[in-house]
């Protein structure tokens, strides 16, 4: 049981870290109206956010 809680916390924190990085990337790219910032938003920000959400969902269903 304790092992399960620890695993949940570990995944939860990983999801939090990836989501925060993804959201920071998204917020940063919004400051420029360029093709590079659009690519950064989609290719890095949105991808990191989706990975973070996936890890979070995986963490809550595997508790």
């Amino acid at each position: 049981m304790k092992d399960g809680a620890n695993r949940f916390r570990s995944k939860f924190k990983t999801a939090a870290f990836i989501l925060i990085i993804g959201l920071i990337v998204q917020a940063t790219t919004l400051h420029w109206a360029t093709a590079a910032s659009f690519l950064g938003f989609i290719g890095a920000g949105a991808v990191l956010v989706l990975i973070g959400i996936a890890i979070y969902l995986f963490a809550i269903v595997s508790v």
């Binding site: 949940f8 939860f12 939090a16 925060i20 998204q26 919004l30 659009f38 949105a46 956010v49 959400i53």
Partner: protein, 202 residues
């Protein structure tokens, strides 16, 4: 204003995620679980969708189009100091919004013209970053009079012009292109040799 709102949502999300990551025990209670679901699932999706919408809206801006190196000469052509150059005269005389110069003339004024133009823009971004950009940039299809007539049709200057009146039917049906007579466009091959306008006084 829209950008600030999305950044505020992102900021709130980061704070909530940070708080829950530092104190995961908060998620033990029912309320904590709901808060975590909002912070880790709902808000990031909302931020991503709104952010993508803002980026798509920004893709209509002149800055966006000219941010690719291959478009530099086209951007420069807007400053050609010769009123017979079509894009330059439209840009310099504020006939089109300066912050959406490329988009205003190169979108299709049809039901799905807006989305088509944005999809073409996405394709251009893809080609620019992941493929070889063609040495000579060309339009997908000949420029349609519809795009010119979107503004010029029924305009007094257009209606009262004798040559336009004589060719009205042919112009409306696209049998005769506006560019047959107004044939000085971007001229990117020679733009460096032409005299340039210094731009509006700031």
């Amino acid at each position: 204003m829209q950008i600030q709102a999305v950044i505020a949502i992102i900021g709130i999300t980061i704070v909530l995620i940070g708080l829950l990551a530092v104190r995961p025990s908060l998620t033990a209670a029912q309320g904590g679980k709901v808060l975590a679901f909002i912070a880790f699932f709902i808000l990031p999706i909302v931020a991503t969708v709104l952010g993508a919408a803002i980026h798509l809206e920004q893709s209509t801006s002149t800055t966006f189009c000219l941010s690719c190196h291959v478009m530099e000469a086209h951007g420069k052509s807007l400053y050609i100091d010769d009123k017979s150059y079509l894009p330059a005269s439209h840009f310099q005389n504020n006939r089109i919004p300066r912050d959406q110069v490329c988009y205003t003339c190169h979108t299709d004024y049809t039901l799905f013209g807006d989305i088509n133009a944005k999809m073409r823009g996405l394709k251009h971004v893809y080609v620019y970053y992941f493929k070889d950009t063609p040495a000579r940039l060309t339009l997908y299809e000949p420029f349609k009079n519809r795009e010119c007539l979107h503004c010029h049709a029924n305009a007094r200057s257009f209606e009262e012009s004798i040559p336009h009146n004589m060719m009205k039917e042919q112009l409306a049906s696209n049998q005769l292109s506006c560019l047959t007579c107004h044939n000085k466009i971007h001229n990117v091959q020679q733009v460096d040799k032409l005299k340039m306008w210094k731009g509006p006084a700031t």
